[in-house]
Amino acid sequence: MYVQHKSHAQLAEQFNRDAKRVDWHDETLWLVRIKRDRAASQVAEWEQLREAASQIKNNVLSNLHDYLLQFEQHALANGIHVHWAADATEHNEIVHAIIRKHNINHIVKSKSMLTEECGLNEYLHGQDIEVIDTDLGERIVQLAKEPPSHIVLPCIHWKKEEIGELFHQHLGTPKGNADPQFLTAAARAHLREHFLAGKLAITGVNFAVAETGEVVVCTNEGNADLGVQLADVHIACMGIEKIIPQRKHLAIFLRLLARSATGQPITTYSSHFQKPREGQEMHIVLVDNGRSRRLASDDFRNVLKCIRCGACFNTCPVYRRSGGHSYHTAVAGPIGSILAPGLDTIYLLPLPCVGRAPMFAR
């Protein structure tokens, strides 16, 4: 995990020394927020969708015990191995045991804020296992040995010239080339080699359906799919709050997620993994890590309804002008300040920025 010894205010002050850069960061994120507003305004029933999503999540949290059992039962029947992890350490050990069983020392991983929360990459690195983050933004911050600064836009704090220099050092691109099209093509070629060599792929989970035992993973790049479909083993890691009751509820959540995140009507890929590919081994790791404790708190239970769209980041003026690295948590920003296990008194709901999120309609 990334240990920091300075306060949010001190780190924000550091970030604010370059006023022009702060303005750029602020404006870039506000633009994403505007895209969200535009997308939301095109759906006449937007507020109804938010309300329905919020109520479904209320129902999930009030019945999580049974829904998890139902999910487990169906996933097992679908031929998936299901694991339960009480905390981050147990999660990391479960994942490591699967990797070790297959004698693998190189794995590909798509975006998963849960594995960030658990410090999986550092843990596996300590076990001599190389983890390649395959989301472009996450690969950029990984090469720079940084954590992501935003859950949807991991390297939103990086300038293209700096990425050009980073790629020059690590991928051998020509010095001074900062063209996003060119740099993305270079990353595509670099990561393609890792996909082709990847025997084991880790993904996060956006939604897990109790009724069917399937998990849904959303990306724009297709990196989760490429990783999983070329690998012999797929491990999907999820917090226990990712459960939704029925498949038809996906309509509501998928209509909200990408519009709230980036203003897209849907992500390019919304992949429903119900059974392993023929010959493939599939695992799901269900992680508590403080969530069951949080469920008891009337003040904080609602953070478990979060679908990680990142809309609150783009809305929050403090986040936009202090940067994701000024926070002390794996998930930065407003929602991160109340999500992190162990934090109980930093902010109190409802923050106005979190009020932009689909899940907190009322």
Partner: protein, 194 residues
Amino acid sequence: MSSREKILAALKQNQPARQPLPDAHTGRTQPGNLKEKFIQALTDIGGKAVEAQGWKAIAAALREAFPAPAQIINTIPGLNSEFEILSSKFHPHDFRNVSPAILQGQFGVAENGAVWLTNEQMGDQALPYICEHLALIISQRDIIPTLHEAYDRISNSTYRLGAFIAGPSKTADIEQSLVLGAHGPKSLTVFILD
């Protein structure tokens, strides 16, 4: 006590009083012209729509867009006489040069330009993700308004992999500049059969 038992016991203890499950049928936008709306949505997300009168027209359009020696792989019976058929001789790694893979979609969604297909239509599950270019084919009467109707149609069917594919693979991770072809197909063409 195992972690499973510990977590379940804590949940039973801590979960609040039962809240009802709401009616999932919220208001639904009914786009006027489904085909027009689908084409607009697909174009907005970087995809391309081509209306075609029959398989011959699709084959001709593909040959024009991807002239020889492009490697075209097909999984659709209607095009079997025109293009190489997906077979078990291929290793998934072979698909990386395929331009394009041609797959049947089950239906299209007008509100977002997405096409639904499952492992049944993919032939090989790696194919739609690793190919260089992708072509999906849907029938005009299989365009539905929103994701609600989509899940009505998917209903309780089972699959290994079920997928919405909406446009080409893309990223905007470098300074929010949109680039098509992040890891997967660099282009997506959806043929709409009359």
